[in-house]
């Protein structure tokens, strides 16, 4: 064992360098949380060496895919090691998406490049851990001969992963099985609010006042004035759908139609 531990890694150029040269890695709360949890259950010595590896740029590649991050780490042998950071597949995504779509703030913050703190509670409530909390939650594999968990190569990959999370919190979710676009599409497709009026129970028909409306029609006729707006404002206000017509965005192709609708002019008042 001592042989491996004392061996110096082969220095490489062009590896991924950890940005934080000193202290702990992880600037945002979510990457901090990830590291904190990690440091709580993993071997501290190996983690420290892994962090040093990360700062030296020993990690050559980092690929994040659903439930699996793969990394290439240059160790002390000429052949770089292959590291895999695996997670348990989540089968509760439906429930999580349902919960996330309930509150617009998740989408708003995720879109703004932030990971809302409450998101962890949402995962919790669905019985799913957003971050690995125990050694068992992580399936670490490395082609190195070290049987420790994690080995310093995996640790280096984990630290760089944390830094990647800093830049793009969606990667946490991507690692957890949902790539950014899939997630946003799924959230968008869930109704935020019930269809208007759908939830209202109708009064049963009665003979009384059958021919007259419950309140006078006259009150309905007074529509409040609406300031004029450019045609197609609605297209501009909405997240454009991911639909292309002859390689152009649907909203762009539709705009002339909205201009034509507006040009039909206000209704002549019926006299």
């Amino acid at each position: 064992m001592a042989f491996f531990e004392s061996a110096k890694p082969i220095r490489v150029d062009g590896g991924i360098l950890a940005r934080r040269r000193r202290g702990s890695i992880g600037e945002e709360w979510w990457s901090r949380r990830f590291i904190d949890l990690l440091e709580a259950f993993a071997d501290t010595g190996r983690l420290q060496r892994g962090r040093a590896y990360a700062r030296q740029g020993q990690v050559l590649r980092l690929d994040i895919r659903p439930y699996e991050v793969t990394a290439i780490v240059q160790g002390s042998r000429p052949e770089p090691y292959e590291v895999t950071l695996g997670l348990q597949a989540i089968d509760g995504w439906d429930a999580i998406e349902e919960e996330l779509s309930r509150r617009a703030v998740f989408r708003a913050r995720l879109l703004a490049g932030e990971m809302p703190r409450e998101i962890e509670q949402v995962f919790d409530a669905c019985g799913v851990a957003l971050f690995p909390e125990h050694a068992d939650d992580l399936a670490l594999m490395c082609s190195c001969p070290d049987w420790g968990t994690p080995c310093k190569h995996a640790a280096a990959a984990l630290y760089l992963l944390a830094e990647a999370f800093d830049d793009d919190p969606f990667l946490i979710l991507a690692w957890n099985g949902r790539a950014r676009d899939d997630l946003l599409t799924a959230l968008r497709r869930r109704p935020l609010t019930p269809e208007p009026g759908e939830d209202e129970d109708d009064d049963p028909l009665t003979a009384e006042d059958f021919w007259t409306p419950p309140s006078g029609l006259a009150a309905l006729r007074d529509r409040p004035p609406v300031p004029t707006t450019p045609p197609g404002l609605l297209l501009q206000l909405l997240d454009p759908p991911d639909i292309k017509i002859r390689r152009r965005q649907l909203a762009d192709v539709l705009l002339p139609l909205y201009v034509a609708l507006a040009a039909d002019g206000p209704e002549e008042s019926t006299e």
Partner: protein
């Protein structure tokens, strides 16, 4: 007669009608329903529509369906039930349905039922949504096949309002359908057809060169969005699910989240620069442009757009974003509402992203140019996108514009004009200036502004928007001649027509009579005229001012609109005007033509006779009216000629031969549609001057205002089309305050409108005004009346004392019913409109009260008449009509009272005198009508006091209906004559009548010839 009904079912409009012909059908077939519109104005609109039979749930008695309110409500005993009837109907696809709905209400020969009028209202709603682009394309399944359809994006609150207001008749297809479903289907169908009607097709250019074998589904779907055919061309291996889901998601994201908090933006101006604002005003001639621009560049004013959260239900709840971040605002979901809102707002206001760099955005600092961009570009978009927007009070108002200064020329030449001789031909010195608000801007100031080239400038402590276009217009303006002389008439026209979009007329300054006229406060500035001799009444102070105003306008040869609130005595004021304007030399007298609705002829006759007995009146109306020379002779011999709108329009040519001093139109809203025959006819009668009387708030209906002005001062407001474009559309559709101000300035010289509620003017109005409304009988009523009287006189000769008593009372009751309505007397469920003078008058009064946004109590002593009136009035007025009678349960009674007292919407409360005479508090009403008389003042007063009670903050007007020339008038006179005896005689109700002799009875019951008008 046909009453057309409709519902939306199966993606199409189902149209049917009730007819008043003989009833047929047996079993479950509706006995008076038809789908046959041939020979009516609907025939062309429904041509080729397939026929179906619908099962409709309708209110019914044991063996037949009850007619709708429009056909004529049928009196019935007990509670009606619901039953299913087979009804023939025409099926109109959305396109013809839209056409029908857009013209259904304008037809004279088919009466649209409330259900059809509701759907017509939806058609207008859809047209508005489509024009505003509140629609999105969708992919839907129709019988399993994918189709391209347009869907509306209504405001959810509006959708709920519309669903809640749907008449049950629209949901009648068995087994009864939910309002929201019917509403959504109707909106969907009408929206799709409307978009297709307006959208260009095809929208994509033709493919050039080789058309690929496979065209993507999205493109085929897109092609089906326009043109008549919504079906999507099929190709093998199509899978529409993804496209459908994506479009559905898009549609859902368009429905605004209905949270309790909404994001609101507030533009705040920089604090005034301490030094320059407190500096003394520069001496004249020196540039007076003060502003931060004078300072160093780093003094760039700190404009700011603040973010706030506003309660959706409670707009007074306003929380600055800073409080949200600091955690001081203990509002659930506040951060989320704020962030989600900012995320959405970013799309229309990209500059916002600068504010979102920080962790806790609370506002966006802007420079002056940025503030201007926010005002002009972002603010309207944000408001349209559903955000709250608060702008400084000067925004959109404090504009650079024109100011007209006008002063009467010194009259020193030949003495033709005296100080009191101001007229439209008087010469006026005028000068045009540039101004902001009332403040004149000098040329050098403008030059300085032009040099600064900023769109927002602080001018004498006041921020002013000044874009390039305006500046350009102002500079051009300065190059033209700006002063000279014109006539007063030209000044009046200039005030109406001067100014344009870029350089509006913002102020007018004039002195003397011209100033009085233009200010719109002439009535307050000129000396009130005391009650003229010959008027048997004392004018109230505001009536004296009204009289002086009419005289002032008449003297100028200008037409006027006297638009005082109903009940302020416009008739009396006008009579006083006629009396005081009447020359003492009989040879110089010329008659005045007064055009009134037929229902008011009797009232006018009586009021003129009572208040101005010296005026000679001629009534030109009825089949025996004078023609040609006879008319000319009778008219010129009279002071006042009364006629109706109908007669005036038939006899316009003959009436035009009379040299009228003036033409007066009472209830002039009858002219609101300027293109009708009667409006044209009345306008065509030449007159020295014209006066329109109306009690409806003219400012609410701009095309109506134009029509009234066109009558009073032909041509002065310019062509109707130009008026619509400049005023009606901006004000009514867009809420343009600037245009509203300009219109007010243009029309205020001609309109005198005082409100009952304006205590600064109406100081002396009694808290309770009682009026008698004299109504006429229709020919039908008169013949029924006559027959009833004759019948009684025949029988009474052979009756003993006891029989006689019963006979008299029964006859009294029958006659009162005839006076109410023939259908009330006949109890045959026949139709209501046009058959009773009282009903016509009641509709008019209720209509005016609703128009004024007020509430009215209507008392009748006959529950059966009330149950006929209720659905009828509800349909005619399109306002809630509550009905309380002896059979109303305690619980329902309390509900009705609470609804009437608390609802903001104007409404009618119909009450049976016996059931509601005591105990209730209905102070929300400030009008009371007694449709029929109990002849017991104590009982009537007690009923009246429902409205006139502690808690009443307005003046109450009480109208008692009396059919002129009938027993109602005779008995009323007897009561008035024997007022002292009234209590002892009349206190017992109607019993005393039974003691009259046959001769006396004959006299009381006899029908006077003037009873019938028509």
């Amino acid at each position: 007669m046909l009453v057309a009904h409709a519902t939306w079912h199966g993606g199409a409009l189902c149209l049917w009608a009730e007819h008043d012909g003989p009833r047929t059908g047996r079993g479950s077939v509706h006995p008076f329903a038809t789908a046959d519109f041939s020979g009516t104005s609907y025939a062309g609109l429904v041509r080729g529509a397939p026929r179906v039979v619908l099962d409709l749930i309708l209110p019914s008695t044991a063996d037949h369906p009850l007619p709708s309110a429009e056909l004529g409500p049928e009196p019935f005993e007990g509670e009606p039930g619901l039953a299913v009837w087979r009804v023939p109907a025409l099926v109109l696809d959305p396109f013809p349905a839209m056409t029908l709905l857009r013209s259904a209400e304008g037809q004279a020969d088919v009466v649209p039922g409330t259900d059809l009028r509701y759907l017509a209202l939806l058609a207008a709603e859809v047209a508005d949504l489509v024009r505003r682009g509140r629609v999105l394309p969708a992919l839907v399944r129709e019988d399993g096949d994918p189709a391209a359809r347009w869907r509306p994006v209504p405001d959810p609150a509006r959708f709920r309002t519309l669903a809640a207001a749907m008449p049950p008749a629209c949901r009648a297809v068995a087994p009864g359908r939910p309002a929201s479903t019917v509403l959504r289907e109707a909106l969907d169908g009408l929206t799709d057809t409307t978009v297709r009607g307006s959208a260009p097709h095809p929208l994509l250019p033709e493919r050039k060169g080789d058309v690929p074998d496979h065209i993507p589904l999205a493109e085929r779907w897109f092609e089906a969005l326009t043109g008549p055919d919504p079906s999507i061309r099929r190709e093998p291996h199509d899978s529409a699910a993804d496209l459908e889901a994506e479009l559905d998601a898009w549609y859902r994201s368009a429905l605004p989240a209905t949270g309790p908090l909404r994001l609101t933006f507030r533009l705040t101006e920089p604090p005034p620069p301490a030094a320059s604002v407190t500096a003394p005003v520069p001496p004249a001639g020196e540039a007076a442009v003060l502003g931060p621009q004078h300072g160093e560049p780093d003094d760039e004013p700190a404009w700011r757009v603040e973010f706030l959260l506003q309660g959706a239900d409670d707009p007074s709840l306003l929380v600055p974003a800073a409080d949200v971040w600091s955690g001081e605002a203990l509002l659930e979901g506040a951060e989320e509402a704020l962030l989600a809102g900012l995320g959405r707002a970013l799309r229309v206001f990209p500059e916002l992203s600068k504010a979102l760099d920080g962790a806790a955005p609370s506002g966006l600092p802007l420079d002056t140019a940025g503030a201007f961009r926010f005002l002009r570009q972002a603010a309207p978009l944000l408001a349209a996108a559903g955000f709250g927007v608060f702008l400084p009070s000067w925004a959109g108002k404090a504009k650079l514009g024109l100011k007209l200064k006008a002063e009467e020329e010194e009259q020193d030449q030949d003495g033709a004009a005296t100080s009191s001789g101001f007229g439209l031909t008087s010469l006026i010195d005028f000068r045009w200036e540039l101004a902001v608000g009332e403040e004149t801007i000098e040329e050098d100031e403008l030059a300085e502004l032009a040099r600064l080239k900023t769109p927002l400038v602080r001018l004498r402590g006041q921020w002013v928007e000044l874009d390039d276009e305006q500046l350009e217009a102002a500079l051009t303006f300065l190059r033209h001649g700006r002063s000279g002389t014109m006539t007063a008439g030209q000044v009046v026209r200039a005030v109406i027509h001067a100014g344009e979009q870029s350089l509006p007329l913002v102020a007018v300054e004039a002195k003397g009579s011209l100033g009085d006229l233009l200010s719109g406060e002439a009535d307050r500035r000129i000396r009130p005229m005391p009650t003229p001799a010959g008027i048997e009444a004392t004018l109230r102070p505001y009536q004296e001012r009204g009289l002086a105003w009419l005289a002032f306008m008449d003297g100028l040869g200008l037409g006027s609109l006297l638009a005082d609130d109903m009940g302020l005595g416009k008739t009396l004021t006008l009579l006083a005007h006629l009396v005081q304007a009447r020359p003492s030399d009989p040879a110089a007298r010329r008659p005045t033509l007064v055009v009134v609705p037929m229902s008011l002829v009797g009232n006018w006759q009586r009021e003129a006779a009572r208040f101005a007995p010296k005026l000679s009146i001629h009534v030109h109306h009825g089949t025996r009216r004078h023609r040609q020379n006879e008319l000319l002779r009778a008219a010129t011999a009279a002071d006042l000629v009364l006629t109706t709108y109908g007669t005036a329009s038939r006899d316009a040519g003959e009436l035009a031969q009379v040299p009228w001093a003036r033409v007066v139109c009472d209830e002039a809203q009858a002219l609101k549609n300027s293109s009708t025959r009667q409006a044209k006819a009345v306008r065509s009668i030449p007159a020295g001057s014209r006066i329109a009387l109306t009690g409806t708030p003219v400012e609410n209906h701009l095309t109506e205002l134009w029509s009234l002005m066109e009558f009073a001062n032909p041509g002065l407001l310019g062509p109707k089309k130009a008026f619509r474009e400049r005023f009606a559309v901006p004000i009514e559709a867009e809420g343009d305050e600037q245009a509203a101000l300009e219109l007010k300035r243009a029309t205020q010289p001609f309109i005198l409108r005082r409100l009952k509620t304006d205590k600064s003017i109406i100081t002396d109005l009694p808290e309770k005004q009682e009026m008698k409304e004299f109504c006429h009988l229709t020919v039908e009523q008169a013949s029924l009346y006559q027959a009833t009287v004759e019948d009684m006189l025949e029988q009474i000769a052979e009756a003993d004392d006891k029989q006689r008593r019963g006979l008299v009372l029964a006859t009294m009751a029958k006659l009162k019913q005839v006076c109410n309505h023939p259908a009330h007397f006949l109890k045959d469920g026949s139709r209501l409109p046009g058959r009773s003078g009282k009903l016509t008058r009641l509709e008019e009064i209720c209509g005016e009260v609703m128009e004024a946004g007020e509430k009215i109590l209507v008392f009748t002593q006959y529950a059966e008449f009330g149950s006929m009136l209720q659905p009828y009035l509800a349909a005619r007025l399109d306002r809630p009509v509550l009905w309380l009678h002896g059979g109303t349960s305690k619980q329902h009674r309390d509900d009705l009272v609470q609804r009437f007292q608390e609802d903001a919407e104007p409404s009618v409360f119909l009450l049976s005198l016996k059931a509601a005479g005591t105990g209730l508090t209905l102070t929300a009403a400030n009008h009371v009508v007694h449709v029929d008389r109990w002849w017991n003042p104590a009982v009537e007063d007690q009923a009246t006091d429902r409205a006139f009670r502690i808690g009443q903050k307005k003046n109450v007007q009480v109208r008692k209906f009396i059919c002129a020339g009938t027993l109602e008038e005779k008995v009323d006179e007897m009561i008035e004559r024997k007022k002292s005896l009234a209590d002892s005689i009349v206190g017992t109700g109607e019993e005393w009548l039974t003691d009259l002799s046959v001769a006396e009875l004959r006299d009381v019951l006899r029908l006077s010839p003037e009873a019938v008008a028509g």
